[in-house]
């Protein structure tokens, strides 16, 4: 059992991180902490994806002339994760801007208080 877990250490860590991020995204009442939770969740998926493409003893996939290692790691997951990281930072920026805007309007970023106030303000 333990051996299996250690064998798959990257994917197990990734799943645990995903769980942590998921729980924070759902349960935190503070908007900023929710965003941190989302970031952790995304990083977890990237970790899982990148670990799938790793090959024991493989070199970075830069096929330079002269030096020619026999084994390279899989370049596809790296490319996907690269795209994913950029998407994730864009969304982080967007949600942080939204949080600032909400703070400017309500003076708080706790979701339960915000909901209460929005209800009062609603038409």
């Amino acid at each position: 059992m333990l051996e299996t877990l250690l064998e798959n250490r990257f994917s197990v860590t990734a799943v645990l991180l995903f769980g942590i991020g998921f729980l924070n995204l759902l349960l935190q009442q503070n908007l900023l902490k929710k965003v941190v939770g989302f970031n952790i969740m995304d990083s977890a998926v990237f970790l899982l994806l990148a670990s799938l493409g790793y090959i024991e003893g493989g070199a970075a996939p830069v096929v330079a002339e002269g030096t020619s290692p026999s084994l390279y790691i899989n370049p596809i997951p790296s490319g996907l994760v690269l795209t994913g990281i950029v998407v994730s930072v864009s969304i982080t920026a967007f949600s942080l801007a939204l949080i600032q805007r909400i703070y400017r309007r309500y003076g708080t970023i706790e979701l339960d208080q915000l909901r209460e106030r929005a209800r009062k303000e609603d038409d």
Binding site: F38, R105, Y106
Partner: protein, 508 residues
């Protein structure tokens, strides 16, 4: 050398993206508006031409994005169904903008208008790409584009409750795309492909050998759950009423009528092209979809009955209508015919036509009543703008499922699809129950707007209402009339449309 028309799908995506970029540098909202309308109209035309080329010949084709053939490069795939859907999506997008034009320029401040149209164009691009894509990772990227632009569409009307609705919407969407990405990762881990045809082969091989059964099931479940969250499938619909109800009219119409559908189209494509229905039935996924769909049909209507706020009521009713679509998907293969799938596709069209009509009319009705949105204050508003009243009535009757209106046909086909499966009784009963519930909130709403207000209230409204808002609204009238005609076309001339859908589903 491929025929020229095969370039049309990519061309329309490209046009939408370019228009989005250009809108951001325009100074005036009016110019951005014109550019957006032009692009959308051109895209509608291109999709219609594509449909004209594909359907009579019964063709579908794969278009490699670049010079690398599958499985090395990106690709998109177009068939009659995709062409039909994208033509309807583009046309409805233009009509929603046209119908909500006055509200839009009233609700969105002038400095923000060009960026608003950037968001609209990017939404259009993501809808088109989600419809056409033949690659799951491309699907993920465009899901994220759709997320950001949809959130921006909600918050363009800058009120406090709207901001909070936006952030709840954003977090739910992020959850959905996170789950989708995780599912995609697992799927890629056990198959090694991203392009749908190669994925389908690998999945079929895995399913036959029974290898990696659990990861495969988990991947399927996660991807469907992710798309389900984003398209407001029943247990995950709580974000929807506030987000769709609070936005400006055009945004509500686009979000409810189109954006939700983009995810569902991707889901349908995944279900048919990659996982295939027999495998999903074997895994029990279709049953889960069926149960959630049935529950959604009831729960959405029940929460709509509680609502007084007309736009939130319409948004809640979207949850119920999405429930219908998922129910159709959940019927799966039935006894060999994918009738549920066809009915779902038809219902996508019906809802894409009806909901924008209802939202535009609701927006217009509340505009002539001093921008009040509660049903109580809309009393008699239909007499102040007859077209809006008629449009709302038509939309409502179609949603209830009265013959001659579009909604009736889709309900009929859902019912007949259920006959060829072993879940006939429960599906028919729920459709009946849901029809009653629909009537329970739409009939009072229609009666309320057509009922003469008493003298006191009328005077009060005349004082509060903006005279400019009471003036004849040409763009709204045009768009409402076209959408109303669309509802009737779907309800009366449904046969050719169903033929297109049938041939499209078989070529998916």
């Amino acid at each position: 050398m491929r025929p020229l028309w095969e370039n049309l799908p990519f061309l329309s995506i490209f046009l939408a993206i370019t228009a989005g970029i250009l809108c951001a540098v325009l100074r005036s909202g009016k110019a951005a508006w014109r550019l957006t309308m032009l692009t959308t109209a051109v895209n509608t035309l291109l999709s219609a031409v594509l449909l004209g080329c594909l359907w009579p010949a019964g063709l579908s084709f794969v278009y490699t994005m670049g010079r690398f053939a599958a499985p090395y490069g990106n690709a998109i795939k177009a068939g009659p169904l995709q062409a039909l859907l994208s033509a309807v999506f583009c046309a409805v997008l233009a009509l929603a903008l046209e119908g909500g034009k006055r509200d839009l320029f009233h609700d969105v401040s002038p400095a923000r208008q060009p960026l608003y149209f950037t968001m609209v164009n990017m939404t259009a691009a993501s809808l088109l790409a989600l419809t056409y894509t033949n690659d799951v990772f491309t699907g993920y990227v465009f899901i994220e584009i759709s997320t950001i632009s949809a959130c921006a569409l909600v918050m363009a009307r800058d009120t406090g409750p709207n901001l909070i609705a936006t952030i709840r919407y954003l977090f739910m969407s992020l959850l959905g795309s996170g789950l989708f990405l995780l599912g995609l990762t697992l799927l890629n881990g056990v198959t090694g492909y991203l392009l749908m045809p190669s994925l389908a082969e690998a999945v079929a091989a895995l399913a036959a050998s029974g290898q990696y059964r659990l990861p495969l099931t988990a991947a399927v479940g996660l991807m469907i759950a992710g798309l389900g969250i984003k398209s407001a499938m029943f247990p995950f619909h709580l974000w929807l009423p506030a987000a769709h109800g609070g936005a400006t009219t055009a945004s509500s119409a686009i979000l409810s009528g189109l954006v939700l559908k983009g995810y569902i189209v991707l889901l349908i494509v995944l279900m048919v092209r990659v996982f295939t229905l027999p495998l999903l039935e074997e895994m029990g996924v279709t049953n889960v979809l069926l149960i959630f769909g049935l529950l959604g049909m009831v729960a959405g209507s029940v929460s709509a009955i509680r609502e007084h706020h007309i736009k939130r009521m319409l948004a809640c009713s979207s949850v119920a209508q999405i429930g219908y679509i998922f129910m159709g998907l959940g019927l799966g293969l039935g006894f060999g015919t994918a009738a549920g799938l066809t009915a779902s596709c038809f219902h996508i069209l019906v809802h894409a036509c009806c909901k924008p009509l209802l939202f535009c009319c609701a927006g217009r009705l509340s505009a002539v009543s001093g921008h009040h949105r509660s049903l109580r204050n809309l009393r008699g508003s239909a007499y102040r703008d007859a077209v809006a009243g008629v449009g709302f009535t038509v939309g409502a009757l179609s949603m209830i499922g009265i013959p001659l209106f579009g909604g009736f046909v889709s309900k009929l086909y859902f019912a007949s699809a259920s006959l060829s499966s072993d879940k006939t009784a429960v599906v028919l009963l729920t459709i009946a129950l849901s029809t009653v519930l629909n009537a329970l909130y739409y009939v009072p709403a229609v009666l309320a707007i057509w009922e003469q207000p008493d003298e006191e209230l009328r005077l009060h409204i005349q004082e509060t209402a903006d005279p400019a808002a009471l003036a004849f609204d040409r763009s709204f009238t045009v768009s409402a009339l076209i959408l109303t005609a669309g509802v009737f076309v779907l309800g009366i001339l449904y046969h050719p449309i169903l033929n297109v859908i049938n041939s499209g589903v078989s070529l998916l």
